[in-house]
């Protein structure tokens, strides 16, 4: 096992890695930028080092040179990149390996990296997995228009090294295709520092998205865990997850698990990876392999009792897999939801700010992971995910019930969150039937309906009561109303709006 591990990330994944490394008996070291000083990962680490902001245009967690220098100086033997940031940066891996430091990321034996979506898709096709129709790899505009001719709109343009929604766009026309191409080329330079190559793929609407997490050791021992499904996303980021998937036939699960085993053997994957499929009209299509631990994998850990993060670190340190094979067959149901500091009513605009008040749900079968606390500031610079809420039930129905009640108990004030929206989702017939689609909540009317479904007639009365009472409490406002009434009475013009009543931009009084 490693002795000293540097965790080069922030937020929940940082805190989780710190815990895993400590449990494995190694020293957990992390980096942070000033405003994250109080976060759980930084607090709980054995050693924490502040990163300098050398380039104000770039967040320091992306500062490859600085993190590599620090890793070398601190004599760590491994670096855990978490997800996002430098997790899929080929240069980061090389720079570290040159200094004898292991990057905790999947290793494949071959010419390409797992993060190359196109090459992995080719490999899957070679072992006989069905894949989506698509183009070859290219990086110039002439080929773009030629490649688009062999497919129909809408289609998806993908950067081969994209991740987490970056470098991926659905396009519906040639003009959208061209602007997406320009955009992806620009993004590639900014985030995906490695490759400008893209490819086109058919877009299947209404498809379901599932993924199988796997662990594989050097000796080739492999565990393919039950699938996770993310029935709801917003802009390619997950909102809800379930494991196992609500409608996957056990025989199809077993078949996919054995095919994945073949693919992983072929690619000689070592460590942790996650193999993704789209299920369209009952047929699975291989999508990609992700090589990094994602927030959703906590659900697998909860379902199976296997700590994926710890196993990943252990396997990459050269130890061998020691997991009971029984966990490949699901015997519980886990549902999770991600809580974002953003306003679903305002088209999911991030809502950074200070958390005034926070009530967290807890209890039997309810698992909460959060990086926020009362008084915490939500940074405007990063992904606004603030919490993961997971529940485990014996059946899907029990898990849904637990989730609905846990979300009612979850209250955040000071920043807007998607909690009310998610309560509406779990209450909806679409979710219960398992027919909810990733596009469903992209529609503002659907979102409004979901939130409105939570309002009973008594709630409207209580809202009226609260509004009146808040006025009653506020002496100043009350005085204004009296002035207004006096003015109105004296002007005796029915309905004349007085000056002070001219509405200004609404704002929250903090």
């Amino acid at each position: 096992m490693f002795k000293r591990v540097l965790i080069a990330n922030r937020g929940l994944i940082q805190a989780n890695c710190v815990r895993a490394v400590k449990e494995l008996g190694a020293t957990a070291i992390t980096v942070f930028e000033e405003e994250d000083r109080e976060s759980a990962g930084v607090r709980n680490a054995d050693e924490a080092y502040e990163l300098e902001i050398r380039d104000p245009r770039q967040r320091p967690y992306l500062d490859l040179e600085q993190i590599v220098e620090l890793a070398e100086e601190l004599k760590v033997d491994a670096v855990h990149p978490g997800y996002g940031f430098l997790a899929q940066n080929g240069k980061f891996a090389t720079e570290l390996e040159d200094r004898g430091i292991r990057l905790i990321a999947p290793r494949v034996d071959g010419r390409f990296n797992l993060s190359n979506k196109f090459r992995v898709k080719e490999a899957a096709e070679r072992v006989g997995m069905p894949v989506l129709k698509g183009s070859e790899l290219f990086s110039d505009r002439e080929t773009l228009l030629l490649a688009a001719k062999s497919l129909e709109y809408p289609m998806i343009l993908k950067a081969t090294h994209g991740y987490g929604g970056i470098g991926m766009r659905i396009v519906r026309s040639q003009s959208e295709l061209e602007s997406a191409f320009d955009h992806i080329q620009a993004t590639t330079r900014k985030f995906l520092m490695n490759s400008p190559e893209v490819f086109l793929e058919e877009f299947v609407s209404g498809a379901r998205h599932i993924e199988f997490p796997i662990l594989r050791d050097e000796g080739g021992r492999t565990i393919v865990f039950p699938e996770l499904e993310c029935p709801l996303q917003r802009r390619f980021q997950k909102l809800v997850l379930e494991t196992p998937a609500p409608h996957l036939d056990p025989s199809m699960r077993a078949q996919l698990q054995s095919e994945i085993q073949v693919l992983c053997d072929r690619l000689k994957i070592k460590g942790f990876a996650s193999v993704e499929f789209l299920i369209h009209e009952g047929t699975p299509h291989f999508l990609e392999i992700n090589g990094y631990i994602q927030p959703s994998h906590t659900a697998t850990s909860l379902l199976t009792g296997v700590d994926l993060l710890k196993e990943q670190i252990r396997l990459l340190s050269g130890e061998s897999l020691d997991v009971d094979r029984a966990c490949t067959i699901p015997n519980h149901h886990v549902i999770g939801t991600y809580v974002y500091a953003e306003d679903p009513e305002m088209n999911f605009t991030p809502s950074p700010g200070k958390v005034d008040r926070l009530y967290l749900p807890f209890g039997e079968g309810v698992f909460m992971q959060t990086s926020i606390f009362s008084g915490a500031s939500i940074s405007p610079f990063y992904d606004p995910m603030v919490a993961k809420l997971l529940v485990r039930g014996c059946t899907r129905d029990e898990a849904m019930l637990k989730m609905g009640i846990a979300l009612e108990e979850f209250f955040v004030e000071g920043v807007k969150t998607n909690i009310p929206l998610m309560r509406g989702v779990f209450k909806s017939d679409e979710f219960k039937d398992g027919t909810i689609s990733p596009e469903f909540i992209a529609d503002a009317d659907n979102r409004r309906k979901l939130v409105d479904s939570l309002k009973s007639s008594k709630d409207f009365e209580v809202a009226a009561l609260v509004a009146s009472l808040s006025l009653n409490q506020d002496g100043e406002t009350l005085r204004k109303i009296e002035v207004m009434e006096a003015e109105q009475a004296s002007s005796s013009v029915l309905g004349a709006a007085t000056r002070w009543l001219k509405p200004r931009k609404s704002r929250r009084k903090l």
């Binding site: 709630d459 209580v462 009653n472």
Partner: protein, 170 residues
């Protein structure tokens, strides 16, 4: 005190608050009566936790600049409210429709990736006008109201601070 509050439909609210401040008091809304205890108050007088008929209700009130409540959040669920009549005056203030500013500002520091509109374009309320790259996300910025884009204040790729003007819809 009597109020008429419009939140979808109109409700008549009567608050009868006499005697000790810490004791629960009665509020009637239309024909329903509620016993209300105020559990905690913020310094500025906005309510934090209520006890309504023996049920704890944490609430949050969003106000206009002049202090009038415009939205009430019950467990984060928003209710639009409009107080249209207070006390026993025979005059009812007719609140004008809420006017929405056409100025689109950067709510977050970030970089403009692209504009979907140009000066002179007609836009519907809620139509996407540009993409702001912030918090690792591409944020679609939408028109606050229907109108014409009269000014685009920044170039594509401009790096903006919070509050910088992006464009104006009139």
């Amino acid at each position: 005190m009597n109020y008429i509050v419009n939140c979808g439909k109109k409700h008549a609210v009567t608050i009868d608050r006499k005697g000790e401040l810490n004791k629960p008091f009665e509020i009637s809304v239309d024909k329903s009566k509620y016993s209300v205890g105020v559990r905690r108050l913020k310094d500025d007088g906005s309510i934090l936790t209520l006890m309504i008929d023996h049920k704890v209700v944490p609430i949050d009130v969003e106000r206009r600049g002049d202090g009038m409540p415009v939205r009430v959040f019950l467990k984060g669920v928003p209710f639009d409210v409009e107080i249209s009549k207070v006390a026993s005056t025979r005059f009812r203030p007719e609140l004008p429709e809420r006017e929405v500013s056409g100025e689109v500002m950067a709510k977050l520091p970030g970089q403009i990736l692209e504009f979907m509109v140009k000066e002179g374009d007609e836009v519907e309320a809620g139509a996407p006008v540009c993409i702001l790259d912030a918090m690792k996300m591409e944020n679609e910025i939408v028109a606050p109201k229907k109108g014409t884009v009269t000014t685009i204040a920044v170039e594509p790729n401009a790096v903006l601070a919070k509050g910088d003007l992006i464009l104006v819809v009139e």
